[in-house]
């Protein structure tokens, strides 16, 4: 099979101009880093970072029954949302394993936006389109929608300088969104993110993204904003213990063992995977996703086996890297429930070397 050439976002030229190192990612050519992963990570923790996440999928569900269809496809309770509110959720199959993790936005009772991972875009678009058939309107808005994340303690100080309306975004509560004007660009701004920092994610028209990017970079320069790539996005989300689809969760894992039980609402109306998830929740869990710190000299990586102190293979590391803010090498992995207790000693098999690690409380990093 020949692979199609990777797609480019409307910010591609900006990334190249900023010396971003472009890599293939989920069918796109995206910047993994500009100045360096640690430098960008620290900028987001101490000032602000600007991320191009236009590769993500944006799906629209419209019509009288859109609310019911969306609610049927996700594990969290979409019926509790009010206009202008968003929620994080899993989207499961009938077996109760995870098709994707999503943010679902209720613009109105009859108008919903769903943001999915780029790696799952085709699968989730087909899943929603099929469910919408004969019930509500489905539209894939991904080709016309850009998404920029502005994250970090200075995010709102930068927005203060982007016009009277943008300055009021500071009052937007967590997981709320609204239409806004940022600089001279009309957009939709949500107080969400994937870094463990405060900030916003900004949707705008595909071709408006360069103008928005330039203004945020220019206004943010005196406050220390930096462009940040996929590498920093990964270390930031890992420290905050936010799941990465394809690493920590996938179609072989269920939300309960992944620590996402809080987005599974068994008391809501019927939804895909409900029966399976009820059974999973009723039985003792075989394994759990835990956070660990590596105590020896080694860096855990995705796919490395996890062992008990006697050397028996008991699980697998799903994500791992140095944590630039926590100052330790950290990771996530599945282990038997009996070994999921904080303080349990583990060994990470780093390519044949068993390196000591210990199960710790997560998130590894929480902003103060």
């Amino acid at each position: 099979m020949t692979e199609a050439a990777p797609r480019k976002t409307s910010l591609h030229a900006r990334h190249v101009a900023a010396k971003g190192r472009m890599v293939p990612f989920a069918g796109w050519e995206m910047p993994i880093q500009y100045t360096g992963i640690v430098d960008e990570h620290q900028a987001v923790r101490t000032a602000a970072g600007l991320f191009d996440v236009s590769h993500m999928g944006e799906l629209e569900m419209k019509g009288e029954h859109a609310a019911a269809v969306v609610d049927y496809l996700v594990t969290n309770d979409a019926s509790k949302l009010v206009d202008g509110q968003a929620m994080y959720t899993a989207c499961c199959n009938e077996q109760g394993t995870i098709l994707d993790d999503l943010i679902v936005y209720r613009a109105a009772q009859d108008r919903w936006l769903i943001v999915c991972n780029a790696s799952n875009h085709a699968k989730i678009a087909a899943h929603f389109e099929k469910a919408a058939k004969d019930h509500c309107d489905f539209a894939d808005r991904s080709d016309e929608t850009a998404l920029i994340a502005l994250q970090g303690p200075k995010a709102f100080d930068i927005l203060d300088k982007a016009g009277a309306d943008a300055a009021k975004l500071r009052d937007l509560p967590s997981f709320r969104f609204r239409d806004a004007v940022v600089g001279n660009v009309r957009c939709t701004v949500a107080r969400t993110g994937y870094t463990g920092e405060d900030g916003v994610e900004i949707f705008c028209a595909w071709n408006d993204a360069p103008a928005l990017w330039d203004q945020l970079m220019e206004l943010g320069a005196p406050l220390g904003v930096k462009p940040a790539g996929l590498g920093a996005r990964d270390t930031l989300r890992l420290e905050a213990r936010l799941s990465l689809y394809g690493n920590d969760i996938d179609e072989t894992t269920n939300p309960i063992e992944a620590g996402l039980g809080w987005v599974v609402k068994l008391d809501k109306a019927m939804f895909v995977g409900k029966d399976a998830l009820a059974a999973i929740k009723a039985a003792p869990l075989a394994r759990k996703l835990v956070g660990f710190e590596v105590e020896g000299r080694g860096i855990a990586r995705h796919g490395y086996p996890l062992r008990d102190v006697d050397g028996n293979e008991v699980g697998v590391c799903t994500s791992g890297s140095p944590g630039p803010t926590v100052g330790k090498n950290i990771g996530l992995g599945y282990v038997p429930t009996a070994m999921a207790t904080i303080g349990t000693k583990l060994l990470v098999d780093c390519r044949g070397k068993n390196i000591e690690a210990v199960v710790v409380k997560t998130p590894f990093y929480k902003r103060s």
Binding site: Q33, G36, I37, D39, G231, T235, G298, I299, P322, R351
Partner: protein
């Protein structure tokens, strides 16, 4: 990007400095740039170990990735840079100096003649990037 003259270079982006039959080995500025922030250097050999061309003598890890380190020549390890243990950032700061990794006593230092000089390595990097 600097590739000092007088060093020999491998296609795996290591440099070798020859002094009689003593061969000092490290990684190039291009390798450093590709790796990004170096966070761990594991030199898995000790003085006296015998290496052959292409055998791994350690690993170098950045935030994102891990790379193997390969012996550029047959010989015996006579020195291992212990400073990299606690200060992996030396590789970013001074790849051709303080971040040397091992010294190998070559069985036949003349074999290094097959490696690239700074000019052909520069071309090799251009082709790779």
């Amino acid at each position: 990007m600097e590739f000092p003259a007088g060093l020999k270079y491998t296609k795996d982006h290591e440099w070798a400095k020859v002094d009689g039959n003593r061969v000092t080995v490290g990684i190039t500025a291009f390798a450093v740039e590709q790796l990004g922030d170096i966070t761990l250097v594991s030199l898995d050999v000790k003085v006296g170990d015998v290496l052959s061309v292409g055998k791994t003598f350690g690993t170098i890890e950045s935030v994102k990735t891990l790379s193997d380190l390969y012996a550029p020549i047959d010989g015996k390890v006579v020195e291992v840079n212990q400073d990299l243990d606690g200060s992996p950032e030396l590789v970013n700061e001074d790849p051709y100096g303080k971040a040397w990794m091992v010294v190998i006593e070559a069985a036949d230092a003349a074999a290094l003649a097959e490696l690239m000089d700074d000019k052909s390595y520069g071309d090799h990097v251009k082709a790779a990037s």
